[in-house]
Amino acid sequence: MELIPLLLDWFPYLLRGIGVTFGLVLSSLALGVIIGLPMALGQVYGSRLVRVPIGIYVWFFRGLPILVLLFLFYFGIFPGLGFDLSAFVVGAVVLGLRGAAYQSQIFRGAIQSVGEGQMVAARSLGMDRLCAVRSIILPQSMRIALPGWSNEYPNILTDSAVCYAIGVAELLTRASQIVAQTYVTMPIYLAAAGIFILMNYGGMKVLHMIERKIAIPGFGSGAM
């Protein structure tokens, strides 16, 4: 079989992996914010009772290799709890829980880097702490966090290939399947690699665009 027609034949199958890989990345980033941001707030403003469990969570998810986490949840924890989840869902959840651990620390650093005077001024106007956090501290710390948070995107994108190990039909899994069927190795893996690189490039472009869009004079990537 000629190489080019063969590649063209299999390419659509490989391309469908983009959606799966992207789904893994998005869920990790989304869970990172949904779980990681409250954890960061808890670590900064919470009592010991709140901070200690969050600390343990972060220590656990940052302390184990992703592969170990994946096997632990896919073969152990989820089945043990009676959940019959697809490999994709487990992969997305594990990447998300792990992402939350890392991203919470990006958010925590950003929240702590907002000057103390901002909170003092907000309170002096009669805002309660929740209101001050919502309308003053978070808008500032999110802008501070964005460059570091954007940096998580290529990390998670490349990490997502590990979901191959539990059979999620993402890019690498599909590439390997095609290789197994066709015995064509390099061109297929190169095609997968090319797609990863393009996804990386495109995603970072979008994130940098957002950074520029919300930039404010005097803030990180802003005019100062």
Partner: protein, 251 residues
């Protein structure tokens, strides 16, 4: 109940940071429209005293009353009292992510629950009052220190407070920027705003204050109207203190 002749009543305030007793029993009363200026060497508790009044620093002992209602030990109601007691800080503490206009608007919307339109109108009026209307769309990083401080005064004014606390409002400013801020404050005093001012600006103290309170070692050592403090030989300490400043200024 206390008579409402006094807007603000401060009773026997004590505050220590560890072994360091910063305030050792400060009491005074403020009438509507009065400007009180607190002077004294650094570290005599002037700024701490202001922060004890709106409970940004809770005092160890003593009580504060606003219109006969207790501000100390007021629980969540402290947020109500803080609306009524404005504060202007040495380092402005403008909200860095908001334009001048939004800095003034934000508490009107979030705390007072005003509509966006009403808040905008009020904020613009306050910025006009301090001569900053043309800068409404600028961010704090784009303002000079004097401009930033005037915006922060507008932010405090917008809440329609009963009294405003000024914590060394010009100490972070160059002399020429100091003047524009002091001018705004003088105008406020003339318009009848009740003000408590901690400052090292002796010219302002002598010309604008109804009463000067000279603090030493965490207590009010001497107090009175500027003319009396400067002429009556009984008040030697405050006169010497003010004298030092005038010497340095070469007047």
């Amino acid at each position: 109940m206390h008579t409402d002749e006094y807007i603000l009543k401060v009773e026997d305030i004590h505050k220590a940071f560890g072994a360091n007793e910063v305030l050792r029993g400060v009491s005074f009363e403020v009438k509507k429209g009065e400007t009180l200026v607190f002077i004294g060497s650094s570290g005599t508790g002037k700024s701490t005293l202001l922060r004890c009044i709106n409970q940004l620093t809770p005092p160890d002992r003593g009580r504060v009353w606003l219109h006969g209602e207790e501000v100390t030990n007021s629980g969540k109601r402290i947020n109500y009292f803080r609306q009524r007691i404005g504060m202007v800080f040495q380092n402005f503490f403008l909200f860095d992510h908001l334009t001048a206009l939004k800095n003034v608007e934000v508490a009107l919307i979030r705390v007072k629950g005003m509509s966006k339109e009403a808040a905008r109108e009020k904020a613009l009026a306050e910025l006009r009052q301090v001569g900053m209307e043309d800068w409404a769309g600028h961010y704090p990083a784009e303002l000079s220190g004097g401009q930033a401080q005037r915006v922060s005064i507008a932010r405090a004014l917008a809440m329609d407070p009963d009294v405003i606390l000024f914590d060394e409002p010009t100490s972070a400013l160059d002399p020429e920027l100091t003047r524009e801020v002091l001018e705004v404050m003088r105008t406020l005093a003339q318009q009848g705003m009740t003000m408590l001012v901690v400052t090292h600006e002796m010219g302002f103290a002598c010309n604008v204050a109804n009463r000067i309170l000279f603090m030493e070692n965490g207590v009010i050592a001497e107090q009175g109207a500027p003319t009396i403090l400067l002429t009556d030989p009984q008040y030697s300490r405050v006169k010497n203190f003010i004298g030092q400043f005038l010497e340095y200024n070469g007047d």
